[in-house]
Symmetry: C2
Subunit: 293 residues, 2 copies
């Protein structure tokens, strides 16, 4: 009987969110239709396709879709040393906060007003990792009032250490929590992304810490493929195609009290080249098999 109950739960895809980068060929409206057609109830959104149709049109489409929204990608890129560039980054993040607030308000109940923050890499010709990391904290402090006013949670995403130089100087869940804990949990959380954190010997402990502090703002899944793709940004695979034991992350995240959506976010040229509806259906099947609790 216990087994039967367990199996039933393993088929539950109600918390699955399709990050629209996974089917990036589809425009904003098509992505919503495809999610629905595949039986998915939630979507993770990106700013570029929203800007393509305009925020009002995007919000209206989202409202009429009945889908939840689980996050918006993305803000961040906070590491510039030059004042004008820093100012531009802050202003751009304020616009992103407004975007996520608008979309989350338009989306179905249970949506999360979460803006994913990618820190940014070392500035050109700089090797000052400590300095770059401290500027991430400074930038979040500057955005805090805007996020609080808008009811938006800023979610610091640790990226895999292989991106430390050129993409994100925040590289472990522990480090992301060290940053987030400077601020109230309602305004600043973290992203737990399986691809980025699966290798970390302390990941279970850090997930527990994140949960205890109410800091898990987003949980994303995709698999670690080998060999690493020539463009390492596109090295993610569908769950089950790589090396990650998803239950080793899903269970600690559940134990930590996270009850939000679970986003499938895959950057992979082969998947991008495939039919988006077929991809969405494979995502559902593989989520049920590998990720659902």
């Amino acid at each position: 009987m216990a087994f039967a109950a367990h199996r039933a739960r393993r088929d539950d895809v109600s918390r699955l969110s399709l990050n629209q980068a996974t089917i990036r060929r589809a425009c904003f409206k098509d992505a919503l239709s495809i999610a629905r057609a595949a039986g998915i109830e939630s979507v993770g959104l990106w700013r570029e396709p929203v800007e393509e149709i305009g925020l009002d049109a995007a919000a209206a489409a989202l409202r009429s879709s009945g889908l939840r929204c689980s996050s918006l990608c993305r803000g961040g890129f906070f590491t510039a040393t030059e004042a004008l560039e820093r100012r531009r980054a802050i202003e751009d993040n304020k616009r992103a906060i407004h975007t996520v607030a608008t979309l989350a308000a338009a989306a179905a109940a249970g949506s999360a007003a979460v803006l994913v923050l990618v820190a940014g890499g070392l500035p050109p010709d700089s090797r000052d990792l400590v300095g770059a990391r401290s500027r991430v904290v400074d930038a979040i402090a500057e955005l805090l009032p805007t996020a609080a006013d808008a009811g938006v949670t800023l979610a610091v995403e640790p990226l895999h250490p292989m991106y430390a130089a050129d993409r994100a100087v925040v590289n472990t869940l522990g480090q992301a929590l060290d940053i987030a804990e400077h601020f109230p949990a309602a305004e600043v959380g973290v992203v737990v992304d399986a691809f980025h954190v699966w290798w970390d010997p302390s990941v279970s402990a850090q997930i527990a810490r994140a949960g205890a502090g109410g800091r898990i703002a987003s949980f994303q899944v995709s698999d670690w493929l080998t060999p690493i793709a020539t463009d390492p940004l596109l090295s993610r695979g569908l769950m089950g195609d790589g090396h990650i034991d998803f239950q080793s992350l899903v269970v600690p995240v559940a134990m930590a009290g996270y009850e939000g959506d679970v986003e499938v976010e895959i950057f992979n040229q082969e998947i991008w080249d495939a039919d988006p509806l077929q991809v969405a259906r494979r995502v559902v099947a593989l989520y049920a098999a590998e990720v659902a609790l």
Copy 2:
């Protein structure tokens, strides 16, 4: 005056060791001659070129070269689940311990009898990272008496997390120390390799911990290049060609009390294709500029 003294020290290459993988085109004897010709006093050795001329001949050549030996690469690859394969790995590591003891005894005073251990990746079709990691500890326990008898230090090398699936399940200096600290410091230490650890937000603290425990058995340097090479194993560069601030590691390692050789170990097709003596001379110049204290 202080400045002049500082500059003088910065030119000191007496602790530089040329890892022979950096000039892998050269056979064992040529590698020794090239090191000497470039004014280098120490070499890091690899088993394959030693086996090519035989251990006795290698030891004799090393003795007559007057060079120190700073480490032997490498043992490890401990993660197999299958009994026969595990047994083969243990026996192979015992042979490597014998090799390093023989070479270190033949080399000049100040040599280190250090065997670098690369853990090995996930076994085929396994996603059990925790299990693979625990087998590394088991294997070291099994090798301990052999290492102690031979006076050899086993040096657990944490590899960059991008190699976690397919090459080494030990991925941070903290994790390597957690493993090493099961055993006496004379027999089990760690490798601090700039390429593998530079990104780690806790690296300074872990270097201090390693030093306090007398666990720094080897210190290696090479730079982190972007974009990552198509074969990520060959993505290392000469110091100054990438993103690492070497002084951010050299200073903590010195403060931690490490006074041994500093190995330059670079896997890079372009460097391998270049003239080995030219490479050795560039290594000396860049070591003096970027690494020497």
